[in-house]
Symmetry: C2
Subunit: 332 residues, 2 copies
Amino acid sequence: MPTIKDVAKLAGVSIATVSNVLSGGRYVSPQLRGTVLSAVRALGYMPNGVAQSLRSRRTQTLGLIVPDITNPFFSGLVKAIERTARTRGYQVLLSSSEENPDLELGLTLSLASRQVDGLIVIPTQDSPEYLRQLGLPVVLLDRIGGQDGFDRVGVDNIGAARQGTEFLLSQGHRRILLLASTLELSNIRERVEGYRQALQGAHLEYDPQLVVACGREATSIKVALEAVQKHCPSALFAATNRLSLVAVQAIRELGLGFPREISLLGFDDFEWSTLLEPYLSTVVQPLEALGAAACELLLERLAEPLRPPQRVLLPCDLAVRQSVAQQKEVSV
Amino acid sequence: MPTIKDVAKLAGVSIATVSNVLSGGRYVSPQLRGTVLSAVRALGYMPNGVAQSLRSRRTQTLGLIVPDITNPFFSGLVKAIERTARTRGYQVLLSSSEENPDLELGLTLSLASRQVDGLIVIPTQDSPEYLRQLGLPVVLLDRIGGQDGFDRVGVDNIGAARQGTEFLLSQGHRRILLLASTLELSNIRERVEGYRQALQGAHLEYDPQLVVACGREATSIKVALEAVQKHCPSALFAATNRLSLVAVQAIRELGLGFPREISLLGFDDFEWSTLLEPYLSTVVQPLEALGAAACELLLERLAEPLRPPQRVLLPCDLAVRQSVAQQKEVSV
DNA sequence: ATGAAAGCGCTAACAT
DNA sequence: ATGTTAGCGCTTTCAT
């Protein structure tokens, strides 16, 4: 691989001039410009990004830590982030934390050691304290509960869940079972809170028993199934996309007419949900906007290190399709 | 951020010793080792990966170019690659080519400039010639048609499609419509070939009209729908996961009893397909193994630059579930 | 067993 | 308007 030195020699100029032609640092006469450029082409020269980074102290690289890229919610975010970063001249080092806090810490350190300019993290748990110590610009994405002091972007979970629940209520449902993954995520707790607020707004009693934490594993189905059997809800509100799947399985195993006997409202929209018929109604999170906002927030922070931490809260939409039926006989 | 120099000063040793303690280059007495290590801890020192890379000429970074990370097939591969790379001490720079060859070329160059140690590419089209010129170890993944001379890992598409078709035949189906995306991908052409071979093996006529290229956009549904209307197949074989979706939509629009009146066999297995009932039978590609193999092949190439290009061809499985019905009345 | 010093390829401050 | 040169933080040869 030729270096800047080779180009300088071939063009008969100093390496500074080559650098300036390529990076546009200072004015170079058109003639020299031309000679340098042809030397560059003749040699097939490409600047060594590592050397540039060492010298300039900027790698033009962002670190991204995601729990599981296989989940369409996360992969949608990754896609948006990568695209935004790319159009702004940044590359993305992607790591998967596999929902493991210890691994997340390790990845964080390893990314910092590689001198990424900043980090976008979808943390495995609330308030990752070590991220503060890092001395690196960090933007928290999606799971942004816990303390502030971080730049963060997420969705108005309370509002979204309230809106979803209100929709269910408007269709006449009174016994709504909320399927949660784990209450350890503030994200999910906020959705529970939105659910509660909607019930309260309708002067209905909030029954904590109707909120069931299914966990994040295969056993979720069993938990959901038993809860449905025990509480006989007329509607299910799945608080994550995975739980929509779980809910569907539970409904099937119980042999319930869907949506006639039981309705389902999902959280997160995803292409493949159209495999389900009747089509799933869901709260839809603005993936594109979330990812882009996270990336842009980080770049702004890089440009302006001292400004106070920002919080971006995006609203969700409600996609009304077919999985929620009108409930005629209102239970008392 | 403290540097190796700071550590050396605090520990009262040379920077060479610090380096050797950390990188295990040469023997250092236990005493000095200890002093150095406590200095490291006291300062919270972390080696600067960029400087290490510049000096050692290795970045411990792999470039990965994927058409669309949002497709569960690709995201499954990415997950496996990232994990394998991580356990071997490598990080992954992820880029999305968005099925755009020009963008792919640009990403390639930009990754090379960042001095990745090697590249894993799921190319947007067959035989990407510029990848040869790159002077960088490259492993082609999934779309590995075209000329050889590359390290590549993929699946036995012919065998898989033949097996799938044979299964359909064994269930009594005689008019099988093969839904392809584009015939420009050798990948897909191979699946067509497997389909043809199976028919031939059963002494049935291969009718090119029964192979329909639906394209990769939203219009696919219309194309598929018209083909079904025109040819009245008893079974559909979708050659990609997207096409399973397309097939399902087409079947619904035609109001066909599924799988009674029409059967469906998919390609690629994915978690969310369980939303469809009856459950989708599919050819399943070994995502984990594919990703891991690609990564490992690349690392082997890094260790042994001169060995001849390897080709890894993995077999597929057939997951028989419920979407293919026995065809009683065999057409003549 | 350890230290001194060269140099990876580049940018930017300092010259002219 | 262009050239010279000092590092960026590290690994690695060459000394001792």
